[in-house]
Assembly symmetry: C2
Homo-oligomer: 213 residues x 2
C-alpha cells in the first residue's frame, strides 16, 4: 500500500555498470552503444607502433600482438579508474604471417591491397576487460577473408573514391561500404571484422551480471 | 594531340548497368548503394502471404519459398522493364522446419522470440536476377543463429524498447542494434543476415561485366 514495487528496472539498477572504453576510435563506441550499452571513453594514448615493434622482435604471433595491444590500453586506463569496468580492444591484419598496419598514404594502401589481392588474410580482433586494475576476461575473435582478383584499374578507382576514408582501417578497406567489392569470400562475424568481438563480450557481460540478462 | 584518352571511366561507361531493385524496402537499396552501385527501385506489390501459403501447401522447403518469393518479385518488375537488370530478394526465417513471418504485433514478436530462445534457427536470403523477362542468376545465402537463454524480464524490456522498430524483421530482432544481445552464436555473413547475399551478387555482377571488376 503506497510502497514501491520490489523491482528495479535494468536501466536504473545500480548493479549494472557503464563500460569505460579505453579507446579514442568512434566505431567501437558506436557498436557498443548500438547494442544498448552505456559507454564512456578515454583515450589511453599508448604508442601502438612501439608496442607492436617490441612484440614483433620477440616473434610474438599476430594473435598475441592483438591481445597485448588490447591489454595495454585497458591496463593504462584501468590504473586511473580502478573502480570501473574498462575495455581495451585492438585489431590486427595478418597476411602470410606478416602483420599489416593502417596505411598512412594512398600509395601504402595501394601496395597493401595489391598484396592482398587474390589471396586470403585474417583479421584478429582482441578485447580485454580490466577491473580493479586486473584483467578479468579476454577474447580474440578471428575472421578469414578472401580477396578477388580485381583489376589494377578497379583498385585505382576504388582508392580514388575511398581514400582517405579507408585510412582508419588496417586493411585499407571498409566492408560496410565499397570495400565489400574487393572480396570473393568472408568467413567470420561482422563485429569481429569491424574490430570488436561484440557477441562474446556481451555474453560475458550478461553472465557476469554487468548487463541485464 | 587534343584527342581524349582512349579510356572510359567505370562511372560513365555505358556498358555498366544500373540495377532495378524489385522491392519497396529501404534496407536492401541502402546495402547496394553503400557498395557503390547505382540502384533504382520499384515495388512489385505482390501478395507475399498468398504466395507463401500456396508454397507451404505444396510442402515447399523454406529455401524454395525464399527463392520463389524473390523470383516472383523480379519477374513482375522485369515484365514491365525487360531492358533492365532486375533484382528480386526475399528472406525467410526457418525454425524446426517451420517458416516464421514478420511479427505484426508486440505479442506476436514476443511469442516468436520465446520460441527461438535457447534454440538455433536459420535465415535464408534469396536473390534472383532477371533480364529480358528471364531469370539469369539466382542464389540463396544461409546464416545459422543461436539465441541465448535470456530471461522473460529481459525480453519484455527488449521489446518495450525496440517495438515497433523490429516489426520489419522476420525474427523480431535487428542484429545491428540491441538484437545482438539475444544471441550466443552467429554463423553466416552479415549481408545474408540483413536480407541480401550481397557478396555473391557483387561477384556475379563483376564476372558478368555489369559493374567494374
Amino acid at each position: 500500500m503506497g510502497t514501491l514495487p520490489n523491482k528495479v528496472t535494468p536501466r536504473t539498477n545500480p548493479m549494472f555498470q557503464a563500460l569505460l572504453l579505453a579507446s579514442g576510435s568512434e566505431i567501437r563506441a558506436q557498436m557498443l552503444r548500438a547494442a544498448g550499452l552505456e559507454v564512456t571513453t578515454e583515450n589511453p594514448r599508448i604508442d601502438e607502433d612501439l608496442v607492436k615493434a617490441a612484440l614483433l622482435q620477440e616473434n610474438a604471433s599476430p594473435r598475441d600482438i592483438a591481445d597485448a595491444l588490447a591489454e595495454s590500453k585497458a591496463r593504462k586506463v584501468s590504473a586511473r579508474h580502478p573502480d570501473q569496468l574498462v575495455l581495451g580492444c585492438d585489431q590486427v591484419l595478418e597476411f602470410n604471417g606478416q602483420v599489416f598496419s593502417k596505411p598512412t598514404t594512398l600509395e601504402d594502401a595501394s601496395a597493401q591491397l595489391h598484396q592482398l589481392r587474390n589471396n586470403r588474410h585474417r583479421l584478429l580482433s582482441a578485447a580485454v576487460l580490466y577491473e580493479g586494475a586486473e584483467p578479468v576476461w579476454r577474447h580474440v575473435g578471428q575472421a578469414r577473408l578472401m580477396m578477388r582478383d580485381f583489376s589494377d584499374d578497379y583498385l585505382d578507382d576504388y582508392l580514388s573514391r575511398n581514400w582517405p576514408d579507408v585510412a582508419s582501417s588496417v586493411g585499407g578497406y571498409k566492408l560496410e561500404s565499397e570495400g565489400i567489392r574487393l572480396f570473393s569470400r568472408i568467413d567470420g562475424d561482422h563485429f569481429t571484422i569491424l574490430g570488436l568481438p561484440l557477441l562474446e563480450l556481451l555474453n560475458h557481460l550478461a553472465l557476469k551480471g554487468a548487463i541485464p540478462a
